[in-house]
Symmetry: C2
Subunit: 249 residues, 2 copies
DNA sequence: GCAGCAGTTTGATCCTGATCAAGGAAGGCC
DNA sequence: GGCCTTCCTTGATCAGGATCAAACTGCTGC
């Protein structure tokens, strides 16, 4: 394991945990935060590792602290569609259900901050604010899923790639608390295969479209980072995105 | 207005309201139910009518009592994707947001049971059970959206049609409290255009695929009802559905 | 150094679903 | 009845993305 990353993972402090300051508990009282503290634990997965299979019993819920996890559905014949892309602070799991309905895999090295589901359920039953926060987060996920449906059903391959880049740029800048509209440099954390599964395309089409956009000078790639987008507004346009580009997700 | 339907709409009783016995308040105490009673009102829309535009301020939330409503997203150039199909008991609106992010239209004559959003928010703030119920419903919607993403991204036109029919059969049988696995007869409440928007296809492809499945003897159409599916299991298979067919949605 | 491998790119060809176009069916209205 | 309009079906052709195939890149291990 590489030296620089290991300590950061094992030393993750409560103050680094997105559960505390970004996700579930953004407006909690100190007492409620302590309740959360007591029942949490961390777990790290390696890139490519399966975190859970669809249909599996899952007695944990939690959220991503660091890294990227993927949610996907698979047809009996193996065709696969990604249905969720979990960045730090995103929540995984369903209070009130004992099985998970999608495959969960680690795209990068990923660390979760997890709670025993029964304990978490007890907690939200007596802490409406946490439940409320969870409802807000689920609404956000539903909105994202619906935008994603528009992408899958109606956008061309070229537009899909542009949209993916815009999404990645925004999520990355949210992660680093930078404004998104410059979009000068952000990493493509995921493989071509994951992009294809995200976009409902084949890896060949993903590769070809990225090459085409590069040829047209929209950006360069440097060690899997998208660099120097000449005209971020034009990429937004290609993505068919009519929201104003400055707003973070 | 046709005689048989008008009285049923205007006379909708609390006991007929899905908010009460199916949706938001499935496990509420009588006192909580009375709180809901006091702040609700009904509104009916005609087929094709726009209920709300994307981006509009919306001070109401509510759920469908009767009929079907459609949620859809539109690209700047007019390409449209349906992102939600609201049957009776389905909830519309977001406590905590003042704008709606999708177009809402009436597919059939549709009646909503609505609450002033501010009042509903006050109610859920002091009634965690209702909030909990809303969270469960939102989880269900998110699951449905993710299955839908698999359909849009990875299924063929033929499989899309089969999936649509399976979904319609299940939702219709849930509506009428019948087991879904026979699927002998159910209406296609929506037009070919709505089907195309649901499935990410054109109306021509929808029409052709339905004709092809008919030719193969999977079903007949009688006044826009799907009749006598020879082998519901085969349709499930075409839909790539590996859940057991007897379970209602 | 080089073999082996996973991930990626590029090329050639095919096929599914889109597009363009024309007709048919059913209902409403005069 | 006849003429709209709306919705649906069918046909001919096209094109975007899938498929099949091969080569390239960067890494790891020896």
């Amino acid at each position: 394991m590489a030296m620089p990353s290991a300590p950061r993972l094992t030393q993750t402090k409560c103050s680094d945990c997105p559960i505390r300051h970004r996700a579930v508990c953004a407006q909690c009282e100190p007492a409620e935060l302590e309740d959360l503290e007591r029942i949490k634990s961390y777990r790290t997965y390696t890139p490519g590792e399966t975190i859970a299979w669809a249909g599996e019993r899952l007695s944990l819920v939690g959220s991503v602290v660091q890294g990227i996890a993927l949610l996907s559905s698979t047809l009996p014949d193996g065709r696969r569609q990604m249905v969720g892309l979990l960045f730090p602070s995103d929540f995984l799991g369903r209070p009130g259900r004992d099985t998970i309905s999608h495959d969960v895999t680690a795209a990068t090295q990923v660390t979760f901050c997890m709670f025993q589901k029964v304990e978490f359920e007890r907690l939200i039953a007596r802490t409406p604010k946490i439940q409320r926060r969870l409802l807000e987060m689920t609404f956000d996920e539903l909105d994202a899923a619906r935008d994603w449906m528009l992408l899958l059903g109606r956008k061309t391959a070229r537009e899909k790639i542009a949209s993916l880049f815009v999404i990645m740029a925004r999520r990355d800048s949210a992660l680093n608390s930078r404004p998104a509209d410059q979009g000068l440099r952000f990493p493509l954390y995921i493989t071509r295969e994951a992009m294809a599964d995200y976009l409902g395309l084949t890896i060949e089409t993903v590769s070809r479209q990225i090459s085409a956009l590069k040829r047209e000078g929209l950006f360069r790639l440097e060690e899997n980072r998208v660099v120097h987008i000449a005209d971020f507004a034009r990429l937004l346009e290609e993505a068919g995105d009519d929201s104003d580009g400055g707003v973070l997700i």
